[in-house]
Structure formats: structure tokens, C-alpha cells
């Protein structure tokens, strides 16, 4: 009886070497694109370091006022007040340097997400085949546990802030792609017809009608990407991101509740400020464009 099933169980017990395939692929990338990854590391490193240096060079009270002013201009008095108090508290807790490091990493990671995510979103909206390939990839990127990205990131880029940025970008890019695509697809058919009836080229249609109309949705995507990037700070710190995440990580390893809470609070304050400001950016867009 059991003999009948033997060939089947034999086949089922032969492990499919998915792991080795992925390893092979990553090794291939590392060996063949070494200079590329080296240059990339150096470039991103320079940008993040430069940004941190700049933010720390400006006297912190001045910077706090500047941030509050920006918040006022973009989202009104309440958020401005919150920014003022929140950043002052961060300063008071001695988290200023770490917060600026985190802010720099999140800003750079989100900018990269935006830079790649928006064109990919546009492509997905306009091309059915691209959509069929990219959409499942995005599902994959979002459901794969974020820790897993750390391994190839380290292998390709070495431990440090750049591999942390890389992992953060991979983890936070999907909403920008998805919502850019959604925003474009949501533009009413009759407006597309109108644009075409007057003789728009596909480019003109994109830049004069689709993107402006999709802007609020795209902004919502960027907002989500920023929030995801912030949620990655602790994981990113495991491969050398430093910043607030680094402090949390240290607090965990030393079981220091107070320090952990304070650093966590720093992340929360930063998150709220960035969230409210980018949200109102989207709303402004809706009103003005």
C-alpha cells in the first residue's frame, strides 16, 4: 500500500532549494555589481551625513522655531504649537542628536521611495503588464517580515546607515507606488476623454491632468511611506542606523525601561509632526490645484 505513494512522498520530501536560489542571486549581485554598490553606499552615506551635520550645525532653538514656523505655514497654529513643545521636549530629554539622525534617515529613505515609487506607480497605472508584475511584488514586499530585508542589505552594502536606508526604502516604498497608481486610475474617465479630445499627447495628459488630479492621493501615499519608514527605525538600528532606534535598541539590551520609553516618545513625537504636516500638504493640494 505505502509503496504506491512512495514516489510521491519521495518527490515531496525533496526540498526545493528556494533559499539557495535567493542566496545565489544575492551573491551574484554582490560579486558583479560591487563597484556600483560601493558607490551607492558612499553616495547615500554622504547625503545622510551631510544632512545630519547641517541639522546639528544650526543652533537647536533656531531649528525648533524654524520647524514650528514651517508647521504653522503648512498646517496651522495647533500643529505649530505641538511642534514647538514636542521638539523642545526632545531637546530637553537629550534626544536631539538622535532625533536629527532619525529624521535624516527617514527623509532620505522617503525621498528615494518617492523617486522610484512615483514612476513605478505611473507605470503601473498605465501599463497592464507592469501592473500584473508589480502588484504581487508589492504584496510580497509588504508581507515579508521586515527583518528579512536586513540580511541582503548587509551583504550588499555592509553594516551601517546605508543598508538601514536600503531596508527602510524597500519596506516603505509600496504605499507610494500603490497610491500613485490609484490616484491616476481614479481620474474620471470623462476628464481623460476631454484631455484626449482636445489633442493632448500622453505626456501632456499625464502632467496636465492625471498627476495634478492624483496629487492628494499621492500625498497620502507619501504620508504612509513616511510612517512606515518611522516604524522601521528600531529594526534599522539593528544594522547600524543609530538615531532614536539605536537608543531604543540599547535600552532593550540593557532592560532600561525609562530610557526606552523616552526614546520611544521621541519617535512618536517625530511621527505625529511628520504625519500632520504631510497630511495637510495633501489637503492643500486638493484645495489649490
Amino acid at each position: 500500500m505505502s509503496d504506491i505513494f512512495k514516489p510521491v512522498t519521495d518527490i515531496m520530501q525533496t526540498k526545493i532549494p528556494i533559499g539557495s536560489w535567493v542566496e545565489g542571486f544575492i551573491f551574484f549581485l554582490r560579486d558583479n555589481l560591487e563597484t556600483f554598490f560601493d558607490n551607492l553606499t558612499e553616495g547615500i552615506d554622504t547625503v545622510i551625513d551631510g544632512m545630519v551635520d547641517l541639522l546639528l550645525f544650526i543652533p537647536s532653538p533656531l531649528l525648533i522655531l524654524a520647524f514650528a514656523g514651517l508647521a504653522w505655514f503648512l498646517s496651522g497654529r495647533r500643529i505649530a504649537l505641538f511642534t514647538l513643545l514636542g521638539l523642545s521636549l526632545i531637546f530637553n530629554l537629550g534626544l536631539w542628536g538622535a532625533t536629527m539622525e532619525t529624521l535624516s534617515l527617514v527623509t532620505v529613505a522617503t525621498s528615494i521611495s518617492f523617486l522610484f515609487g512615483m514612476p513605478l506607480g505611473i507605470l503601473t497605472a498605465r501599463n497592464k503588464m507592469a501592473n500584473n508584475i508589480i502588484t504581487p511584488l508589492l504584496d510580497f514586499m509588504q508581507t515579508m517580515p521586515a527583518f528579512v530585508y536586513l540580511i541582503p542589505a548587509i551583504m550588499l552594502l555592509d553594516i551601517g546607515v546605508v543598508s538601514a536606508t536600503f531596508a527602510t526604502v524597500i519596506f516603505s516604498m509600496p504605499p507610494t507606488i500603490r497610491l500613485t497608481s490609484l490616484g491616476i486610475r481614479q481620474v474620471p474617465e470623462e476628464l481623460i476623454e476631454a484631455a484626449e479630445a482636445f489633442g493632448s499627447t500622453p505626456r501632456q495628459k499625464l502632467f496636465k491632468v492625471q498627476l495634478p488630479m492624483a496629487m492628494p492621493t499621492i500625498m497620502a501615499g507619501i504620508n504612509q511611506s513616511i510612517m512606515l519608514a518611522l516604524s522601521m527605525v528600531v529594526i534599522a538600528a539593528m544594522i547600524g542606523a543609530g538615531g532614536l532606534g539605536g537608543l531604543v535598541l540599547r535600552a532593550i539590551s540593557r532592560l532600561k525601561v525609562g530610557m526606552g520609553f523616552e526614546s520611544g516618545l521621541g519617535v512618536v513625537i517625530l511621527a505625529i509632526i511628520l504625519d500632520r504636516i504631510t497630511q495637510s500638504l495633501g489637503k492643500r493640494n486638493k484645495k489649490n490645484t
Binding site: E193, A194, A197, F198, V209, M213
Partner: protein, 401 residues
């Protein structure tokens, strides 16, 4: 030369149009084909031509293929078969660039739900067509401004579309179509989304504008009143086919088949218009005692070719024609006796308008409208019947078909 010519146009929605075409040849109905082949017939073998300066109305029930037809004219929808000529050029075989040029230079389109760009000001909306043709800012704003003034929107340039009422939004839509000065306007139920009163106003304005601009207009509507009022000719569609093409009078008096008849009947039944609703004041009039010279002068002053004659009580006595009055005056006759025609086409003031149509179609003279005492109450000339029919819409709402 005709401006737009459509030859044997077909549009079949679906992946296997050839199956549907085969069944169409066998004379199967639209519904049968849909259930058998899952192919939807949009346009079924439509041919017609539209002259330069003509307002051509396409009318039919919802789903009869009007929007599909008008979209085949600028290839927003790709026809499955047939040809569309604009100024003698077949646009169905054009490449993208040539087609884009035609859309930019020759075709302006106005949409049922306005389709304004909500993120652009009124001026920027009107300037869209010029902007994508890369006119410089000053020039395109000047032209857009002119178009906005033409449709009565001076002073609203910097508003956003959603700050405007529906009627005003559609004026922006019209200005956007007019700004690049195309020869042809495609209007897909352009006024259907508007309130009856606003709609009537827009119709009147379109007629006014058309007098000045002399565009070739292809106007879609599901409303017979609108079609009668605006159209030089009307094409009636059913299930993707054109069932009749003709002037408003031809459609009303000679419905080609039961379908058209029902369409026309529907409208008439919905209103009880009588002769007195559509008549005009019978001025000027001639008294029985007047001579041929007076008759001539009155007709000349008023640009008429005939004039009605009444007695002191206002009872109709007859009609005098200009050429006969001239002959009599030259002969030196002093009275109207020899030239007074008593066989005047006459109707009573409560005759339904529908019954007037055959009489008026046959008669060269205006109809005399009399009350029960044979007193002349008014006259009816050809145009006023149609105007009366169409004008009813503003008062009583539309015949929703």
C-alpha cells in the same frame, strides 16, 4: 462640399466583432447578438454627411448609440468598420500624430457632464486646447478670454469650476471648445444635465452664437424638442442604426416608420398646444376700404409678400398678394375687389398644433387663426409652429424619452 462624411460606420464592443458582423448581415437583432456572442452593437451601418455651417442633430433613446457615434468622429472610440471623412480626409486611417492635429485644429468637443478640469481656473480650462498646442501664455489667455466673453463669462476667469453653477460650467465647456477656433463642434448631450430653464437659455444662446460663427455642429440629444429647435437636420437613431434623417418638418410630418411616429406622438401627446399658442399677432392688417397702393406700401414697410384683409368688425375677408397688388396698382385700380383672395387657409384658435402641420406644410400662405365669430385673431407662419413646439419645453419641462 460636405464637412463631415460618415460611410458605413460600425462599432462593435467586444473581442470578436467579426461574429457580430456576421449575425448583423443575417439580420439578427442587437439583443439576439448580445446573448449569442456577448458582443454589444454600438453603431450599425451608419452613413450620412453634414454640410459646412449645418447644425446636425443626432437623436435617440438612451443606449441607441449616440455617444458612440460622436466619439467615432474624433476616434475617442475606434470604429470597427467604415470611414469618417473630415474635409475629405479619412480620419480612420490616420496615424496618431495626424489624428492629434485634427483634434487640435478642427474638432472642439462639449461633454454632457461638462468634464471641466477641477484643478484649473475657468481661464485655464478655456485655454487648455491652446496650451497643449504650445501657444505662448499671452496669446492663449487672450484667445481664451475672448471665448469666455463670447459665452458671457467675462469676470469669472479666476474662479474654480466648482464655484460655478451648472449652466455656467457648461459655458466654460463651450468656451474651451471654441477657444482654439475649430470648424466643427461635437456636442454630446451638452445641455441634458441642465435645468429646463437654463437649458432653454443655452439653446437660444447656441443658436445666437451659431448665427455669428457658422460652425459645423454635431449635436447629440435624447430630447425631441431640443432637436426640433436646434437642428437644421435631425438623424433619429435606434439600436445603433439611423432610422430617419430629415429636416424637423419632415420628421414631424412624415415619420419614416412606427418608431419615429411614436417618438413624435409622444411629444405631442404630452402637450396640448393649440393654434393660439403658436400664432403671431396679425399685424399689419388691411381694411376692406383700402386700395392696392396702401396694400403695397404696408407690405413693403413690413417686408411681407402677402397681407390679410378684415372688415370693421375684424372679420376675415381675404388675403392680398404683393405681385397682384402691384399689377392692380399699375392698372390704376382703386379697390381690392379684383385681387382679394378669399380662399385663405384658416384654422380655429383651438386646433391642436399637430393638426396644423399638414395644412401648413401644403400652404404657401400663412394660416389665419379665427375665433368662433370668424374674427381674425392671429396668423401662423411655418417657423412659429416649430418654435412653439420647442418653446413649450421651457414652460412645461421636457418630454422625457
Amino acid at each position: 462640399m460636405p464637412k463631415v462624411v460618415i460611410e458605413k460606420l460600425f462599432k462593435i464592443f467586444g473581442d470578436h466583432p467579426e461574429k457580430a458582423l456576421k449575425y448583423l448581415e443575417e439580420g439578427k437583432s442587437k439583443e439576439e447578438i448580445l446573448t449569442k456572442t456577448k458582443q454589444a452593437i454600438g453603431i450599425n451601418n451608419v452613413s450620412f454627411s453634414v454640410d459646412e455651417g449645418e447644425t446636425f442633430v443626432v437623436m435617440g433613446l438612451s443606449g441607441s448609440g449616440k455617444s458612440t457615434l460622436i466619439r467615432c468622429l474624433n476616434r475617442l472610440i475606434e470604429p470597427t468598420g467604415g470611414k469618417v471623412f473630415i474635409d475629405g480626409e479619412d480620419i480612420t486611417t490616420m496615424d496618431k500624430n495626424a489624428l492629434r492635429e485634427i483634434r487640435r485644429k478642427k474638432l472642439g468637443m462639449v461633454f454632457q457632464r461638462f468634464a471641466l478640469f477641477p484643478h484649473r481656473t475657468v481661464l485655464e480650462n478655456a485655454a487648455y486646447g491652446l496650451e497643449i498646442q504650445e501657444f505662448d501664455t499671452a496669446e492663449r489667455e487672450k484667445k481664451a478670454q475672448e471665448a469666455l466673453e463670447l459665452v458671457g463669462l467675462k469676470g469669472w476667469e479666476n474662479n474654480m469650476p466648482d464655484q460655478l453653477s451648472g449652466g455656467m460650467q457648461q459655458r466654460v465647456g463651450l468656451a474651451r471648445a471654441l477657444a482654439s477656433n475649430p470648424d466643427i463642434l461635437l456636442m454630446d448631450e451638452a445641455f441634458s444635465a441642465l435645468d429646463p430653464l437654463i437649458r432653454k437659455e443655452m439653446q437660444d444662446e447656441l443658436l445666437d452664437l451659431q448665427k455669428k460663427m457658422n460652425k459645423t455642429i454635431i449635436f447629440i440629444t435624447h430630447d425631441l424638442d431640443e432637436a426640433l429647435k436646434i437642428g437644421d437636420r435631425i438623424a433619429l437613431m435606434k439600436d445603433g442604426e439611423v432610422v430617419q434623417i430629415g429636416t424637423p418638418e419632415e420628421i414631424l410630418t412624415n415619420p419614416a416608420n412606427e418608431y419615429v411616429e411614436k417618438f413624435v406622438e409622444d411629444v405631442d401627446r404630452s402637450k396640448v398646444l393649440t393654434a393660439s399658442d403658436v400664432m403671431k399677432a396679425p399685424l399689419p392688417l388691411l381694411m376692406l376700404k383700402d386700395g392696392p397702393r396702401v396694400a403695397l406700401r404696408r407690405m413693403k414697410e413690413n417686408g411681407l409678400s402677402s397681407i390679410f384683409v378684415v372688415d370693421k368688425e375684424g372679420t376675415l375677408k381675404g388675403v392680398v398678394l404683393a405681385e397682384e397688388a402691384l399689377a392692380a396698382a399699375e392698372k390704376g385700380e382703386k379697390t381690392l375687389d379684383s385681387i382679394l383672395l378669399t380662399a385663405v387657409p384658416r384654422v380655429s384658435n383651438d386646433t391642436p398644433v399637430t393638426d396644423l402641420l399638414p395644412t401648413i406644410a401644403e400652404s404657401k400662405l400663412p394660416l389665419a387663426v379665427l375665433d368662433e365669430d370668424n374674427k381674425l385673431k392671429g396668423i401662423i407662419i411655418r417657423g412659429s409652429v416649430l418654435a412653439g413646439l420647442a418653446g413649450q419645453m421651457g414652460k412645461g419641462g421636457t418630454a422625457d424619452v
